[in-house]
Structure formats: C-alpha cells, structure tokens
C-alpha cells in the first residue's frame, strides 16, 4: 500500500513540477526571442513581424530536443529512490 501511495503522490508532485518547469523554460525562451528581435530592429514598430519571429522561434524550440530534457524530472527522482533503496538495504 505504501508503495502505491508513493507512486501516486510522487507522480502528481513531479507532474506539477514538470508543468512549472516547462512553462518557465518556454517563458525564458520567449523573452530571449523578443529581446533578440528588439536588438536587431531598433526603433521598429512592426508588431506583426515581431510576433511572427517569436512564434517561429517558439515552434522551433517545441520541436527541439531541449523541452524533452525536462522529462528528466521524472527519471532522476526515480533513480535516486532506487539508489537509496539499494544502499539502505544492503549490508
């Protein structure tokens, strides 16, 4: 029973963390894209072009390998738990 509880609550907690990190990472990327555009087009008022540039960058980010790395949020704690289980229970 304890094991089931650990898996369920662990999954819920890690999913919340996963969502937070992916939103954060995308937000940082969006800010970077906006700043890059503003630097290259100083004084430009073309909001449509700016939006298109940012959306293209976000789409490229979504298709890249980086967001998949956030999946490590599930892997690392599982590995740590397995290591602790092993080291605690061997003598």
């Amino acid at each position: 029973m304890g094991f089931v509880r650990l898996v369920v609550f662990g999954f819920v907690g890690l999913s919340i963390l996963y969502l937070c990190i992916s939103v954060y990472s995308r937000s940082v990327r969006r800010e970077k894209l906006e700043k890059a555009w503003d630097e290259e087009n100083v004084g430009s008022d073309d909001l449509a072009a700016r939006n298109a540039y940012v959306e293209k960058g976000i789409a490229a980010y979504n298709n890249s390998f980086r967001p998949k790395l956030i999946g490590l949020v599930y892997v690392i704690p599982t590995v740590i738990v397995m290591v602790i289980v092993y080291t605690t229970n061997t003598n």
């Binding site: 304890g2 937070c20 990190i21 937000s27 738990v81 602790i84 289980v85 605690t88 003598n91």
Partner: protein, 223 residues
C-alpha cells in the same frame, strides 16, 4: 511591523532547522553493548516520533520495538567536534517503509542481527541514524546502518548532507528564478494594464467633471 516580520522569520527558520536536524542522517561513533526488544504502547503525543509497523505487516495499537543499546562518543557541534567522554545512547530500529522519512529502510531485522553480532565483540562502530532521543517522552533516534570501524577517531564525511544542502540551495535559487519570471511576464503586465485602465477611467471622469463645471460656469455672472 518590522520587528514582527523578524520574529516570524526567526521562528520559521528555527522550525525548518529543527525539522532538518530531525530528518537528516547523522553519524555516531558507538560501542554496541546489547540489543533488545520491548513492547511499546504509543501515546497520542509520541506516536508521530515512531515509524509504522514493519513493511508488509499490519498496524496495531501495540507492537514490539527493536532497540540497540550503545555507549556513544560524545561530540560538540552536531558531531563535528569529537570528545573523549562517552554516554549511553539507545536507538530504535524500525522500518521507515516507502513514505516518510524517505530512507526506504526495510531491513530492520537484518540490522538487528548485524548489531547483535557487533555487540558480541568489543569493536567500535559508526551508526547512521536520524531522529532525537527525548527521554521524558520515550522517543528514540532510528538507526539506519551500522558499520564497523577500526578506531573511535574516524572522520565520517557526511556526503549525503553535503549533496542535500547543495541541492537545496540550487532548488531554492531555481524556484526564485521561476517566481521572478512569472511575476515579470504574467503579473506585472496585468497590473500595468489595470493601472492604465484606471488612469484612463479617472481621466474620463476628470474630463466629464470639467465639462460639467464649464457648463455650470456659463451660468455664472460674467464680470
């Protein structure tokens, strides 16, 4: 207000520190003198300082508790400064199971056997444990592992705690960065637009007022 804030912070920090001191592993240099089992009837107060029944067994209001009796080397500063004196220390030996605290210990019986075997000799051992010994409430620290050592002057490096605190600092910095980003990108624009709207609204009101006063002014005597 300022003083209240400081008091609140000090209390929060102390509680968090005590919590970590209870839960994180510590190492004691001991001579195991004997092992025993006593029956325990928990009270409502000291129940939270014990784990549950052995994993795989059923929980009952009363159960047997494995204890490890030792002579422990005294220390200063949470074990960082060893002393020559020894004191008596008793550890409980319970499964922590799958949940809390996350030591995932299922081998209490094996640990008891190990301790019994160490108790037969006269050698020093390092006991890894968490928890406190509180005599007036019959609370014992929980032993996690026993390791034989050659002499009582061993230097144990707390690797787990080093990594734990490193990770804690990184985690807090990361959460802070996440929160700042969220505030900068999501909350501040909302507040800004709300302020803009408020400004526009009050400008409107001012203008209307102006119109009314101007209209009223036309009724005034012109001199």
């Amino acid at each position: 207000m300022h003083r209240l804030k400081i008091t609140f912070r000090v209390i929060a920090f102390t509680v968090f520190g005590l919590f970590l001191h209870y839960v994180l592993p510590q190492h004691d240099v001991v001579k195991i003198t004997s092992t025993e089992i006593i029956r325990t009837d928990f009270s409502g107060f000291n129940r939270i300082f014990y784990a549950q029944a052995d994993s795989g067994a059923v929980e009952q209001p009363t159960r047997d508790l494995r204890l490890i009796n030792t002579d422990k080397k005294k220390t200063f500063l949470l074990g960082f400064m060893p002393r020559d004196k020894t004191e008596v220390m008793v550890y409980r030996n319970e499964d922590t199971g799958w949940i809390w605290p996350p030591y995932f210990k299922f081998d209490s019986s094996d640990l008891q056997a190990e301790s019994a075997s160490v108790a037969r000799g006269d050698s020093w051992a390092v006991i890894t444990h968490y928890g406190w010994r509180v005599r007036w409430a019959s609370i014992y620290p929980n032993a996690i592992a026993v390791k034989l050592v050659d002499s009582p002057d061993v230097r144990v490096i707390p690797w787990f705690n080093i990594f734990f605190f490193g990770f804690l600092i990184v985690g807090i910095a990361f959460l802070r960065a996440m929160w700042m980003q969220f505030r900068e990108r999501s909350i501040d624009p909302l507040i800004d637009s709300a302020e803009d709207r408020f400004d526009e609204a009050s400008a409107d009101i001012a203008e209307q007022k102006g119109r009314v006063t101007r209209w009223l002014g036309t009724w005034k005597k012109k001199s």
